[in-house]
């Protein structure tokens, strides 16, 4: 099982950790608020 050879364990975990942190930051700061603004706009237009 090449999955159980421990040579690159830290490498995988470091990559996954850094990428997840970067993704969470970019999603929560730039991408997901755009959805909220869009849904907010739709609600506002229907209430006019």
């Amino acid at each position: 099982m090449p999955q159980l050879v421990p040579f690159y364990f830290l490498n995988q975990i470091t990559f996954a950790f850094i990428l997840l942190i970067v993704m969470i930051y970019i999603f929560s700061k730039y991408i997901l608020p755009r959805f909220v603004r869009l849904f907010n706009t739709r609600v506002f237009i229907t209430k006019l």
Partner: protein, 192 residues
């Protein structure tokens, strides 16, 4: 154009070094870009670029690209509001969203022939499952204090059975770490 035949079905999951920096400073620092690192970076880039490109320029009326993004958003939003909390659970929505998209795109990339299935590695899946369950436990103690232990007591159980049931619930809570990570990796490895 020829492809090298695979010796064993598990050869495709082997981690190979693509680029490495081997420096005899800071206790033999070795920084390497492996194929799993490359594919994880590709999947994160796909997730971010897809979200940046499929915006329909912030128009109120959606086109097909932004409908796909909005339906993913709605799916994960309903998971968060149903499973965590309708109001306070939305705080954790970006985390669940990033985790869902990351695992989904890694699994889809693993289906492409001659590519690399990152989620077939137990290290990666166990890392994700153990950190998420550990974080959930810490948050549970932070928010509920000692009342968090009421998670181990099923509703309406007789007092005589309580020690046994608490033990069983505790074991199942610990086994969830392993089963969540094992199930994903085993399903991706499975050769059919």
């Amino acid at each position: 154009m020829t492809f090298a035949p695979l010796e064993s079905p598990l050869d495709q999951f082997e981690i190979r070094n693509l680029l490495s920096l081997d420096a005899p400073i800071l206790a033999n620092l070795q920084i390497s870009l492996t194929n799993i690192g490359l594919y994880l970076t590709i999947s994160a880039s796909i997730a971010l670029v897809l979200n940046l490109l499929a915006t329909n320029y912030n128009k109120v009326i959606a086109n097909s690209w932004s409908i796909s993004q909005e339906s993913i958003y709605a799916t994960i939003h309903s998971i968060v509001t149903n499973q965590i909390n309708a109001n306070k659970g939305q705080m954790y929505f970006p985390f669940i969203y990033a985790l869902f998209i990351f695992i989904l795109i890694n699994n889809l990339i693993g289906m492409v022939p001659y590519s690399f299935a990152s989620t077939s590695h137990f290290t990666l899946t166990f890392f994700i499952s153990f950190t998420v369950v550990l974080g959930a436990t810490i948050l549970g103690f932070q928010n509920h204090g000692l009342k968090f232990f009421s998670l181990f007591v099923p509703a309406g159980c007789p007092i005589g059975l309580l020690p046994l049931l608490v033990l069983i619930e505790f074991i199942s809570y610990l086994a969830r770490n392993v089963s969540l990570g094992l199930r994903l990796a085993a399903n991706i490895i499975r050769w059919e």
